[in-house]
Subunit: 468 residues, 2 copies
């Protein structure tokens, strides 16, 4: 009478998985996820081949999947982010078909519109009941929000929930509900807790990053956005997170009460909530344990689906009301196009995730980056891969000053009035080249496309070529 | 930048509403709802005609809509329940096209499958923010769960939220989310609090009802269902609610811990939750203030969508795991078919609501009814309208004994063993006729169909004819 089957293999068989189908995974267990490889290993044993994986992201912890790409079990990949371990091999040509990069908002829109289709979704669930109600908030593998899994459950033909904490029906506090689930499998562990979420996200002490972050906060302020009702997203690393610290200082000093923090959520954002600097958090994904605990216990901290987060086809989203977002870049060109997909040699090392979505939506999109990294200039004439088009970017903040997109003369005026160090982007590029020398232009063979990069509306944005 | 428009008329215009379209409403404000008539009045003023209303239910408080049916503004009606005030007029032929009756589970399934379609959904929301996130849990017109409104928001082309408690974005604790909402309208009052929910649902003192309820509880027990994990739904009126009191006594005495209570929820079910007799409540709709308060404050009391409640196309539902349900009947025939649509003269006075869904799903479906009402026999040779087919019904419990559907010989055996007063349904029918005389067979003209009754899978089940 319940949906529990005895093994992943039994679930795969019951779903009627066949050669050529598409299977899906979410990435909330991040690099600690065991489920993707447990499922693909099982599929390989069963002799099923030529599958496409549609995953919200692929992290280095799932690099074992490369062997299944090599053997032809997996021949396609659709994802929003692909870490370097798998990315490098795809750049070398291991995958039969070109992979497809979408964005965190574009993926649910594409599924809803039927432009992409999932035959069987495998959902790693830190807690599930015997009918498939499930959540990421509790359990030994708790990862917090399951924002990217909702649409897999909604639109896949068959849905398998895989859990290491099976509880009686009906569980309390489900995130995804039973009406969409076909089978439930209990396993010993869906992930390695150490890899799922970091204990706490650490604030950088790098003086360059702090200088950039300080400029970024001042740029948000000078744009007139730091006032009651302020909404904010920032990343978890380096200058992005540090920008939050400087924004926090300004908000404290002036007694500003923001409305919401958005995005992949860190403990730092939770502290700002608890301090009363924000009224709420809209959480599509948790980045650390403090965020998980807050989502579990604080009703002001709310889980949202990836559609609610940033679908371009939604009637509105948390992203579309966003005031300011601080984002990184591996490269940015003089037209403000940003690359977060490939490194300076053309290897896949990431992907947009929500970068493009929030950049397109926010009133102010701030790219923070040092002018160079590992002696390679970040600012270039033309990015190797366009991840986020320049039209979505308002300013670039570096340790040498702030470049304003010519599309925003209003901002330039405000920054000059506020005596912020406004620089032309060409000038910042020249600084980087003076420091490190001009880079040798990369000679890409452009013989074989290994990845299509789609914009958030599924239209073609760029292509990535085989490197070796 | 937000979705707030100044009036209902402006929202109607912005949605592009035209002659011949379908508009929808939910019934969580019950007879106190103002929104249906506010919207239809406005539409009439604007000169738009020939609309179909798709409403989860129509109560007597919305009887003013009859004038708009008479004038041709409204020419079609699809609903799961239609109270006598509107029902009587439809039975007299006021509506141009035959109305369509679905069930609470069939309606969301039909919308999801595209068998029925909503052009513009109007959602009465006791609290909403400026981007359309909304809930029924708080606000002066709080009605609790908004279970039947989720699918309107999900599947309608355009969605208008109408609220009398507009709050800043993003609100906390939304039930329906902004990604599905086009416009928000603030009005003075969406309903009359006195009509929305009753203060408390009162337990009957009628000795006949209590005797029936006692038999019903014993029948549930003798079926072997009253044990740990027991799940239960019962109605809010008369013998149905009283059955809960007898079930409660048995559970208390034996220390039974049930799993969940389901359905339209009353304070009585809340008390059973609070007493530890159930682990949780799955709530698609609240019937009284105590249920509203519990949904707001007790995390064990969970709001579910009508899909999660009882959609026949869902992969499972709260209904499909149900052990026992106690339901009423206006008529039941000797094949155990139940009528809850029409009175003994053939007038529409109700509808299935979730009756058919839970009867089809539950392990034990108990119909409770006195053998006659107002000197009309309830048990007849053939019901005027088949609302719930006999195959979904297990037993009929009356004050003179329990009739077991011949499809369940196992139950009959258990009841005889338990020395319950098992009677043949013909015998119960004869008792009613001895008491009141045999009814005059109703001569229906059957010239004009005024309503099609659909089974929960949208297949035709019966037809209702014009009476006058």
């Amino acid at each position: 009478m319940d949906k529990v089957v005895s093994s992943i293999q039994e679930a795969i068989r019951a779903c009627g998985l066949r050669d050529g189908m598409t299977i899906s995974f979410h990435h909330h267990l991040r690099s600690g996820d065991y489920v993707l490889n447990m499922v693909v290993d099982e599929i390989a044993k069963m002799g099923i081949r030529d599958l496409t994986i549609n995953a919200s992201s692929i992290h280095d912890g799932q690099a074992a999947v490369v062997e299944h790409m090599r053997s032809g079990v997996i021949t396609g990949l659709e994802t929003n982010y692909c870490g370097p371990a798998v990315g490098r091999e795809i750049s070398r040509g291991v995958l039969k078909n070109p992979m497809i990069f979408r964005t965190h908002g574009g993926r649910p829109a594409s599924l809803a519109a039927g432009k992409s289709h999932i035959d069987v979704a495998f959902i790693a669930a830190p807690t599930a009941d015997t009918m498939g109600n499930c959540t990421g908030k509790v359990g030994k593998s708790a990862c917090g929000a399951l924002g990217y899994a909702f649409e897999d459950a909604m639109y896949a033909d068959k849905v398998v929930v895989i859990t290491d904490n099976l509880v009686p029906y009906p569980m309390l506090g489900w995130s995804l509900s039973e009406d969409k689930v076909d089978y439930v499998v209990a396993v010993d562990a869906i992930g390695n807790p150490a890899g799922i979420v970091s204990g706490t996200t650490k604030m950088t002490k790098d003086p360059v990053a702090l200088r950039i972050a300080d400029f970024a906060a001042k740029a948000i302020d000078a744009a007139g956005l730091l006032k009651d009702g302020f909404s904010f997203q920032t990343g978890a690393g380096g200058a992005s997170l540090a920008a939050a610290a400087y924004v926090r200082d300004i908000m404290r000093t002036r007694g500003i009460k923001g409305s919401y923090a958005l995005g992949g959520i860190t403990g730092y954002m939770v502290e700002m909530l608890e301090e009363g600097l924000f009224e709420s958090i809209q959480d599509v994904q948790c980045f650390d344990l403090k965020a998980v605990e807050s989502l579990r216990s604080d009703p002001r901290h709310q889980e949202i689906t990836s559609t609610q987060y940033a679908s371009p086809d939604a009637k509105s989203t948390a992203a579309s009301s966003l005031d300011a977002v601080v984002l990184g870049a591996t490269q940015i060109d003089t037209d403000f196009n940003v690359n977060v997909h490939t490194d300076s040699r053309g290897y896949i090392i990431g992907g947009s995730g929500g970068h493009t979505d929030v950049a397109d939506c926010a009133k102010l999109t701030v790219i923070v980056s040092p002018v160079s990294r590992a002696r390679m200039p970040v600012i270039v004439d033309k990015v190797l891969t366009v991840s986020t088009p320049g039209k979505c970017v308002d300013i670039l903040v570096t340790q040498y000053g702030i470049a304003v997109n010519p599309l925003r003369p209003d901002l330039k005026e405000k920054y000059l009035a506020a005596k912020l160090p406004v620089k032309d982007i060409q000038e910042l590029k020249a600084i980087a080249e003076r420091l490190n020398g001009a880079p040798h232009p990369l000679e890409l063979k452009k013989e074989r496309v290994v990845a299509h990069v789609l914009y958030r509306d599924d239209s073609p944005l760029d292509e990535i070529y085989c490197v070796e």
